[in-house]
């Protein structure tokens, strides 16, 4: 088992992608590609799980890639943890796609690249040298780019794909430079060598900045997030689930691998930077999400929020580690890992639900949905569980990881630095704000699209998805409940990872009575998802029985009361925009320059009153627009270089050579 088993599985995925090329135009292609993807992902998941629980390490070397390095592969506890996260999402997406993929109009644009994408993500995680890592990383970007381009007839998707490929190349460049700095002039790219050579403080700080750009842009940290809400929704829904639920986790893996493992011991201000970036992403991500009307775009923005949560955990872990508080660092890292695991589950689930809605209605705009709970009961129930989990409601899994993050924050008064003392509670407040806004966001998502009355005829006709999709959604909804009731097992599973980095781990949770979660000490804090679940269920049942026994039993159906004015048209319902209006008024003015203007007709006139809302994306306006303008200007200036004589070109070559010789000589 271990790497010896993982590599053939990944090879299988690569072969499958070639098979996908030939099968793309056949009817059987969908079943074969997704079926085999499911089997291979499940095998990789089992392999990762065994490696994680047995804490076994394994490595392999293949004579591929750079001649003096070769290709190194290894599975250590960290890689095993992320193999589990990635392949759990991959198996779910493959299962879902067995049904969903049949609705694809041009399957040959998806089938060859889906297994390639899965293989590339797995390779990033098992890579044990910088060259293999970067090569796989680039493959992952390109494969997902092709998948974003799958529906390229829509100009919006083409624009999304263009912005994605620009940002992805930029991110890879940053990672390339980071690895260059880490490997130093010796240029040994194997992780084992990088690990031994601890970099100088300046270099390490630079590496942190580059990795925040490289991995952070892939994960969707604000302000590098702009591509994410465009590209994730543009892909077919099962790929959206993979990109949002899983690929962002690969970026988290890259961050942990480089910063915690390869970059030497952290300094306290690293934690500060990561913490601030995470907290800002959490709040801005969810506020953006609250103001979107496109179902899949809301989910993509909410990914930014959750990534922010994870980065806050990572920042705390860095701050604790820098101050030799090993057990606190272990708690913070476990909280981040658990949230990564949980987010992979519920975000995939929500994208599956959005995909089912898209198949049934052809609509992503929430303003044209409504009342889907009647026609699509199974999808509605699964999505409801996903919405409750992502809103961090006990006893589901989102709450367990959020609770652990808050517990880690509560340990931080031990930190000596003043910057951290002030900013840690501030980011705690921002996290709490983000969590509360997330609940509002998902009340809006579920309430507007699944509840109420159908706003269009397609929404009224919508019927539940095919059995494969329903199985995938139900399985993930069940996972949300199980992972929420028994978070202790996941915490125990991540213990070898914290031992690997900090030499400390949380006390074993499986030994705690009643399977509660006790991160520090029983007197300090404990939470038992299982008991809470049982209590709520028992109370509800007791009340139900009491009411059934002693209360009235009748139910009469009648038109809605609505204060005596039942309105005939579904248009009078609250829409997504009107639901978010109070929150837009509270936060939008400052953060989005939101302006509302109402034009009222003069008294007596029968013209309709109109409301206009203007919002601006400040990140785009103040960061990207000037950047794009600058690049365009420089490009325009340099355009003359395209039309020179051969003499001048030779002069340039000569000058470049002389300059380089000077640099080398100095």
């Amino acid at each position: 088992m271990g790497i010896v088993f993982a590599l053939p599985c990944i090879l299988g995925l690569l072969v499958l992608s070639l098979v996908g090329v030939t099968l793309g135009h056949r009817r059987s292609g969908t079943a074969v590609v997704y079926g085999v993807s499911f089997v291979l992902s499940a095998a990789l998941l089992a392999n990762g799980g065994i490696a994680l629980f047995s804490a076994a390490e394994s490595s392999a070397w293949l004579p591929l890639g750079l001649p003096w390095v070769g290709a190194h592969f290894a599975i250590d506890p960290l890689a095993a943890a992320f193999l589990v996260i990635v392949n759990l999402g991959a198996a779910g997406a493959s299962l879902y796609a067995l049904g969903y993929g049949r609705h694809e109009k041009e399957p040959w644009r998806v089938l060859p690249f889906f297994p390639l994408f899965l293989a590339a993500m797995n390779l990033v995680i098992v890579a044990d040298d910088a060259f293999t890592f970067l090569l796989s990383w680039e493959f992952m970007s390109l494969a997902s780019w092709v998948l974003v381009m799958a529906h390229h007839h829509d100009p919006e998707n083409r624009r999304a794909a263009f912005i994605y490929i620009v940002m992805a190349s930029f991110g890879t460049l940053a990672l390339l430079l980071a690895f260059g700095l880490l490997a130093g002039p010796g240029g040994n790219y194997a992780f084992d060598f990088i690990r031994i050579a601890s970099p100088a403080p300046m270099t390490a700080g630079l590496v942190l900045a580059l990795v925040l750009i490289g991995a952070g842009s892939k994960a969707g940290l604000v302000p590098l997030h702009v591509w994410l809400p465009l590209a994730h929704p543009a892909a077919p829904s099962h790929v959206s689930a993979l990109m949002s639920g899983v690929m962002t986790k690969v970026a988290i893996y890259a961050f942990i691998r480089i910063i915690f493992d390869l970059n030497g011991l952290p300094e306290w201000w690293w934690g500060l930077v990561v913490l601030v970036a995470g907290a800002a992403s959490a709040v801005l991500g969810v506020l953006y999400a609250l103001l979107q009307n496109d179902l899949k775009r809301v989910l993509a923005y909410s990914t930014i929020e959750n990534i922010g949560f994870i980065f806050v955990g990572l920042g705390l872990a860095l701050a604790f580690q820098a101050n030799d508080l090993a057990s606190a660092a272990a708690l913070a890292l476990v909280a981040a890992l658990l949230h990564a695991f949980n987010h992979a589950i519920f975000k995939s689930l929500l994208f599956f639900g959005a995909g089912a809605v898209l198949t049934a209605t052809g609509e992503r705009n929430m303003g044209k949905l409504g009342g889907l709970i009647h026609g699509m009961p199974a999808t509605a129930l699964a999505t409801l569980i996903g919405c409750a989990a992502i809103s961090a409601l006990p006893p589901l899994n989102g709450f367990a990881s959020e609770w652990l993050t808050l517990q880690a924050i509560l340990l931080s008064p031990q930190l000596p630095q003043w910057g951290l003392k002030v900013l840690v509670p501030a980011s705690g407040a921002l996290l709490a704000l983000a969590a509360a806004l997330a609940a509002a966001c998902f009340i809006r998502v579920f309430g507007v699209s699944f509840l109420g009355r159908p706003r269009t005829a397609v929404a009224e006709r919508a019927r539940d998805a095919d059995p494969w999709s329903r199985i995938a959604m139900s399985a993930f909804a069940l996972l949300c409940v199980v992972a929420g009731a028994l978070p202790g097992f996941a915490v125990d599973a991540f213990a070898p990872v914290t031992t690997e980095f900090f030499g400390a781990q949380l006390s074993p949770q499986a030994a705690v009575p009643w399977l509660a979660l006790v991160p520090v000490a029983p007197a300090r804090a404990s939470y038992d998802g299982l008991l809470i679940l049982v209590f709520v269920a028992m109370s509800a049942v007791v009340v139900l029985l009491t009411v059934r026994l002693f209360g009235a039993k009748g139910v009469r159906r009648a038109p809605a009361w609505d204060c005596g004015f039942p309105d005939s048209s579904p248009v009078t319902q609250y829409t997504a925009e009107s639901f978010a209006q109070p929150i837009r008024r509270v936060f939008g003015g400052l953060l989005f320059h939101a302006r509302e203007s109402v034009t009222m007709p003069p008294p007596g006139a029968t013209a309709p009153a109109r409301i206009r809302v203007e919002m601006r994306d400040l990140v785009w306006d103040f960061l990207y627009a000037p950047l794009a303008l600058g690049i365009e200007m420089i490009a325009g200036r340099m355009n003359v270089l395209q039309f020179l004589t051969i003499r001048r070109y030779l002069t340039f070559v000569f000058l470049a050579l002389v300059t380089l010789l000077f640099v080398v000589a100095l």
Binding site: L393, P425, A432, V448, D567, I583
Partner: protein, 318 residues
């Protein structure tokens, strides 16, 4: 033996909160009426209302889904479990460790999540207005509450309510700045969370001002009874919470005999009475504010809570 005793305390508490919750609502209504020089309904009127509602048939809107029918049970159950975890008359609840204060806040959040969804289920504009405003209020009240939890947890060194109460009982020194800030913030949050004046008016049915009542407008019969009972329980929970953390005197400690428990119950009823009367007096003296003033009110609560937590982060002596 200890297990049996703690189990009994747990069950007695669950029954007690359920029994006292309508009475508390009755007291608040009666005091408000007396302050306005009305006679007011008798104290047991809320019980009669509940019984009457339980005996009536449910009138469901034509397009109400299964979620609409499930929500009252979910809301009631989550509120009841949350109320069962707050020490009221004794600290040795058997299951108090299964959820700390963060979990209690989140459990109440679950109830609100489902209630807001139920408000949108029938597809009327009033349901939507209520849910949307409730979501806005919660998005500020919940972080304020978490900040209060932070302040208290940093003082007591625990997020467990029983540990907090025990620590504050044993506290020798006098007032603490953080505690005072947390108390103010908690009262503000409690007013907002329970939809009391000046945030919301539980007695109103004026369309433009209602929040909670707009969400539950379509409910009737036993469903409405459960939601009303859950609302009373929530009010009781917040007063118990303030009592347990800020005036923990009288709470029966872990090793007490029946006299300790009797004192605990009496002290608890006394605290509820004081809390209810104070709430009624406060509500009579103040006018309801516009909906878009609410963010400023709750923003102040959030800042107070944050300040309290920050002081504790910066120095242990506040």
């Amino acid at each position: 033996m200890i297990f049996l005793r703690d189990l009994t305390v747990q069950f007695v508490q669950m029954g007690l909160v359920l029994l006292l919750a309508p009475l508390l609502t009755g007291v608040v209504r009666k005091v408000k009426a007396r302050l306005l020089r009305r006679i007011g309904p008798p104290l047991i009127q809320p019980y009669r209302d509940l019984l009457r509602l339980f005996r009536k048939e449910v009138v469901l809107a034509t397009n109400a889904s299964w979620l609409f029918r499930a929500v009252p049970y979910l809301v009631f159950a989550s509120t009841w479990v949350a109320a069962a975890l707050v020490p009221t008359f004794a600290t040795n609840l058997l299951f108090s460790w299964s959820g700390d204060l963060i979990a209690i806040v989140a459990l109440l959040g679950s109830g609100r999540f489902f209630l807001a969804l139920a408000g949108m289920d029938v597809g009327t504009s009033f349901g939507g207005i209520g849910s949307s405003r409730e979501a806005m209020i919660a998005s500020l009240a919940e972080p304020a509450m978490i900040m209060i939890v932070f302040s208290l947890a940093l003082i007591a060194g625990s997020t467990q309510l029983s540990a907090m109460a025990g620590y504050l009982l044993s506290l020798q020194e006098g007032l603490r700045v953080t505690l005072a800030l947390a108390l103010f913030a908690l009262i503000m949050v409690a007013i907002a969370e329970n939809g009391r004046i000046p945030i919301d008016n539980p007695a109103t049915h004026l369309e433009l001002t209602m929040v909670h009542e707009a969400m539950v407008l379509e409910y009737s019969g036993r469903h409405l009874a459960l939601i009303d009972l859950a609302a009373s329980l929530k009010l009781l929970l917040y007063i118990s919470l303030i009592g347990c953390v800020f005036v923990p005197w009288g709470l029966a400690p872990a090793e007490s005999d029946w006299r300790g428990y009797a004192i605990g119950v009496l002290a608890y009823i006394g605290k509820l009475l004081v809390g209810g009367i104070a709430l009624a007096v406060f509500e009579t003296f103040i006018a309801k504010m516009r909906v878009f003033r609410v963010p400023a009110f709750l923003g102040a609560a959030l800042m107070l809570g944050f300040l309290g937590a920050l002081l504790r982060f910066v120095s242990g002596s506040f």
